[in-house]
Amino acid sequence: MIDTPRVGLFVCHCGSNIAGPVDVESVADYGLTLPGVVFVQRNLYSCSDAGLREIKEAIADQRLDRVVVAACTPRTHEPLFQDACREADLNPYLLEFVNIRDQCSWVHMREPEAATRKAQDLVRMGVAKARLLEPLEEQQVPVEPAALVIGGGMIGMTAALNLANRGFAVMLVEREAELGGMMLRLHTLYPTADDPRKVVQERIAEVQRHDGIEVCTSTVVSSVKGFVGNYEVTIEEMGPGQSNALETGDDSHPSVDAPTPRFATAGVIIVATGAQVLEPEGMYGYDGRRVITQLELEERLRTDQLDAGRVVMIQCVGARSAERPYCSRICCTTAIKNALEINDRCSGVEVYILYRDAETQGPRYEAIYGQAREAGVHFIRYDLGRPPEVTEERVLVYDEMLGATLSIPCDMVVLSTPLVAPSGARELAQMLKVPVDEYGFFLEAHVKLRPLDFATEGIYVAGTARWPSHLEETIVQAYGAAARASTILSKEHVTSSGIVARVNGHLCRGCGRCVEICEFGAPTLEEASSGMKGAHVNAVMCKGCGTCAAICPTGAMQACHFTDAQVAAMVRAALEPSVASLASGNPS
């Protein structure tokens, strides 16, 4: 056991992200006055190669046995600094991460003095905890070299094939009766005008031919337990007619064919459940006949049922509004593609696109916008405050450029509605314990640094389940998610966190409340040779939430890395008089 801790404090400037609002020099100077701190260094970027090297050198040269990094957020960068400790032969749990960027400099940008004072307080809290940190042991857990891919559309199939081609077993679960997803309903793809059904049928055939992929259609995932490397999954095959009941949550008519649960284990899970198109019920006289959605137009174009002399398309229907502020990204390009298709196929048919902003980013998409202009597609800009009006025979729209209301006679109105999260996404998210955003789309761990990962290790996301995206982007994501997943599957073992619960046998009286409250079956009551019962924790099964430690009446159960003493030290440090008021005698 280490007697007097030697704490090294590293204060990151993060360029000007932290050093702009926060006076990092005074934070570093203050840090050196804190008990236990023997070394302080500022880094322009602590996470850079140079910064990490300086930390490792300081651990060796200064004989540091605790490291405090005051920088961004542990949610993205703690593993990096833990690795640096490991490489310097310091147990990675002797690192404490202090968040002075995301929760300080970025949120108090206009109050530099308050931000600096808060950064000093946070550093004081971090150092107080660091002094009480203990080395923790990690467990090696074998990896099940198999993947579960949820969603059998183009993205799920692409990810599944990619993993199967790397030699991993894949279970591909699709709730519909056939593979293919949204692609089956489309008419053409942009910018290549490929036949989506042909593209997707080829992929379906590849999937079905592959020995390494087990396809389970009409099947839903009903429960997920376990952890990275060892997820225990229950899937249920639905009898005919059950799919809809499940989607609407209507279980009032139990089917005769009760679902047959099946169990499987998977090292990783990829979520590729896609999205669906918003049904514009009650908007612009939507009736599915004369007023249809862009997706319904695709179906008509595919089956050659287009009977119209003049078509008006309305963009941003139910999107970029107060209720649904996001841009669905694919609708402008889709509308233009379909307008061009109508133009090519049916001479004499005029197409009007009523838009708010034409979002066709990228050289290829901007080109088809130019093509449509040249081909004589009419673009009329409207304002959200004065939306178009659809009557029996015409569409009225106030043209911003002309400053006048146009009256366009037409036989068909096509509404471009956004992609929305599919039914069941929230339920699946709760099952997987991963977050969704306010619209029900799956939320990645970090939009830039970990765009295909969830914060939960071993679960990944790709495609429109995450956000409306073009097919080419989602295919890239499918490959990306498969690559991320294979970083786990290619290992024989994963390391489970050292942050687990631990029992002090002297204090435990064997009441079993920890056993009752644990959702993961980690603590058990066992009889010692003395005949006394006492709690034991299976470190591999323990997820480290610390609820058992909270409920333990004697204090025998401790949550490692978040012990009572460590939390109390942080509380005490948080409420000590702040340095600024000490130094200047000036009350805050």
């Binding site: 542990p74 970025w106 108090h108 940008m109 308050a114 939430c545 509380v571």
Partner: protein
């Protein structure tokens, strides 16, 4: 007279609320600099003892934050937080502390705006109550 700046301790769970706090930052949402976050893995880790100790050390307000019901990374840890906060509220009443100094809120990883709003709103609420009976605020207000 200098406006009373309350000292507020926020317990935030690693998976939802702490992530929400980070999102407030990456979205550059500005809020009151009165709060100090203590990260725990789950809101279920927070004990009656943690909260009482925080008040005893002089906090003017304590905010316990966790995942929305049903979203807990550990399935039901946030349900334990509900029980803990309820018990503590009764003890605060016995101690003569205003129960409005303690709040439990659910903040998801996507709710950066909600985190920022709650920090400012709770600061206002505690500021209106004035310094805690047990707090360091009397000196700070002078």
């Amino acid at each position: 007279m200098v406006e009373f700046q309350p000292q507020i301790v926020v317990f935030a769970c690693n998976w939802c609320s702490y992530a929400g706090a980070d999102l407030a930052g990456s979205s550059r949402m500005q809020y009151a600099p009165t709060t100090r976050v203590i990260r725990v893995m789950c809101s279920g880790r927070v004990t009656v003892g943690f909260i009482l100790d925080t008040f005893r050390r002089g906090a003017d307000g304590v905010l316990v934050t966790g995942c929305h019901p049903g979203d807990c990374h550990y399935i039901s840890g946030n349900e334990n937080a509900v029980v803990t906060v309820r018990k503590t509220v009764r003890l605060l009443q016995l101690l003569g502390l205003e129960v409005e100094r303690l709040r439990l809120e659910w903040i998801s990883a996507a709710e950066g705006a909600r985190f920022a709003r709650l920090m400012t709103e709770f600061t206002g609420q505690v500021r209106d109550l004035g310094p805690s009976l047990l707090g360091n605020g009397a000196e700070r207000e002078a």
